[in-house]
Symmetry: C2
Subunit: 328 residues, 2 copies
């Protein structure tokens, strides 16, 4: 260990203050003990993030912590679940410093508070190679109300929250400094921020539970993830490219460089919610999201059969070189 | 990725068959959805294992999988919890092969079946450096019956299950081939096996729930872990070195090289259960463990005050150069 802190010091000084749930036992125990509330299902999800695969090792430590938390909360949101708490396994690379850890814990703590997802437990170990973070998120949802990937039916409307492609374009701007210099400063900052700081759409959980037939979060690109949902449900879908919601910054960048539209639709890291909603529930779904102030766009419709068709501006189906971004 | 398999292939071919719990949703979804049984508390624990920190990268892949599962189940056992299921995040290094993965999944699957801990979900990513495995184990325990680390009281008996030091001596034998050559072959094999294959003491859960005032598993060495439990409970303890249960193989090796007694008591990787039991419960505790065929030894007593005293063969307290093995 490069810093002078022991594992117990790290836990006591930086992590135990975030363990505000009584079931966390102050992080003094081997495990957390939670009493589930009767009538609720428990939702559990787990995502690992690896330096220079899922984030840049030189990103601000608070941003790395936030991303690790938020990509997991995004999975809870897609199941209509409100957060109960988080477990964190942190594999620290050679040369980590207490300053780095303090900043990481500060970002982690702010998000634990913001999303009411206290730290429940975890593990701190030495990494082999770069920083590796594994978060398990626990959530709860009234029994039987979590939407699955398998529930989409022909005739359902196809919806996405927020805007698509911002994070993928932000990543492109980081990797291609020439492109970054040609983008407007405000646009560049907005897109870079979407890459660094996913926004788990927890405000959508009630609308999803009440009205969606299927839902998932968009983490590996809209085209690939939508295709997965369709396969899981045994249906196809038809969508219109011009209905895919784009931010002003994404629109600007794509206008200057049209090939980036494919990046936006296949690039990943959106952490928006993709949902299918029966026609009879459409008004309720749209109304519920309007009430919580979350933008949502109907981009197409579920159809019988298999496969996804995205119709372009000229009325012809678009073809993509690849479906999805893979972090694998 | 060095192998020709995509992440979806890995999941479909090797992991989905282990996801026998209906809440795992066939690993087709973002998350698992579990309906907790009324009256039960949920126990959650998470341990990360890193190549060449927690295991040897060249260990048999089935053994690596088993260790990752079992160290987590050991934490459940210490809380009196029976397994519900596991989540696995697997960060695969450059150069992994399908043969390696098939063997890993086979070991994982055997232990999922053996301990009735089906796979509930997880994540598969590219590692930065060596293989890194993170397991989250979920268990359940009748509400309010999980023993904590904080419940030890003066007068309680101090117990450990099984035998102490075997895994630490096994590790020493691997690192010091000269010592290995001097050990008897049967002893060497027994100790090496204890290092490779922890044995989570799930057969102890009912005895712990009914009779223990505090419990934890011994993962970082008896002396250090017992000291942690005493600090958490705000008590001290006195134990006798000659009462610490040793296997025949450990006894043999220590007789030839007495300094290895310290290794046995501080070396870690035991995955035995350390418990404190009030005098009125001693008979019940010992009887319950006898009925399930798990050896247990009373090694001392909880006392008022603070600190741990281990009295040696000559009646003088032993002093150790270090308390515990740290994987950090």
């Amino acid at each position: 260990v490069s810093a002078a802190l022991s594992e117990d010091d790290v836990i006591a000084r930086y992590l135990a203050p975030l363990a505000t749930h009584p079931g966390a036992l102050g992080l003094l125990d081997d495990a957390a003990v939670i009493s589930p509330e009767p009538g609720y299902d428990l939702v559990v999800t787990k995502d690992a993030l690896v330096a220079d695969v899922h984030f840049f090792a030189e990103d601000p430590p608070a941003s790395i912590a936030r991303k690790a938390v938020r990509v997991n909360l995004s999975d809870l949101a897609a199941k209509g679940a409100e957060p109960v708490g988080l477990l964190l396994a942190l594999a620290l690379p050679q040369g980590w410093t207490e300053d780095w850890l303090a900043a990481f814990a500060a970002g982690l703590g702010e998000d634990c508070a913001r999303y009411r997802a206290p730290l429940l437990g975890g593990d701190t170990v030495r990494a082999s190679g770069g920083l590796t973070i594994c978060v398990t998120a626990l959530g709860r949802v009234p029994g039987g109300t979590a939407p699955r990937r398998t529930g989409a039916r022909p005739g359902d409307g196809l919806y996405v929250t927020g805007t698509i492609g911002d994070a993928a374009l932000g990543l492109r701007l980081r990797l291609d400094t020439g492109l970054g210099e040609r983008a407007r400063e405000g646009d560049r900052d907005a897109l870079l921020d979407r890459y660094l700081h996913p926004r788990p759409r927890l405000e959508a959980i009630e609308a999803l539970r009440r009205h969606a037939s299927a839902a998932m979060d968009v983490s590996d690109g809209l085209v690939g993830d939508l295709s997965k949902l369709l396969r899981a449900s045994g249906v196809g879908a038809s969508a219109e490219a011009k209905l895919v919601p784009l931010s002003p910054a994404a629109r600007e960048l794509i206008a200057a460089e049209p090939s980036l539209f494919e990046t936006a639709l296949t690039g990943g890291d959106d952490y928006e919610i993709l949902a299918t909603v029966p026609g009879s529930e459409a008004e309720g779904f749209e109304g519920a999201l309007a009430r919580v102030g979350l933008a949502v766009a109907r981009i197409g419709e579920v159809v019988e059969g298999a496969g996804l068709t995205i119709v372009g501006a000229e009325g012809a189906p678009l073809a993509f070189g690849r479906d999805a971004y893979s972090h694998f």
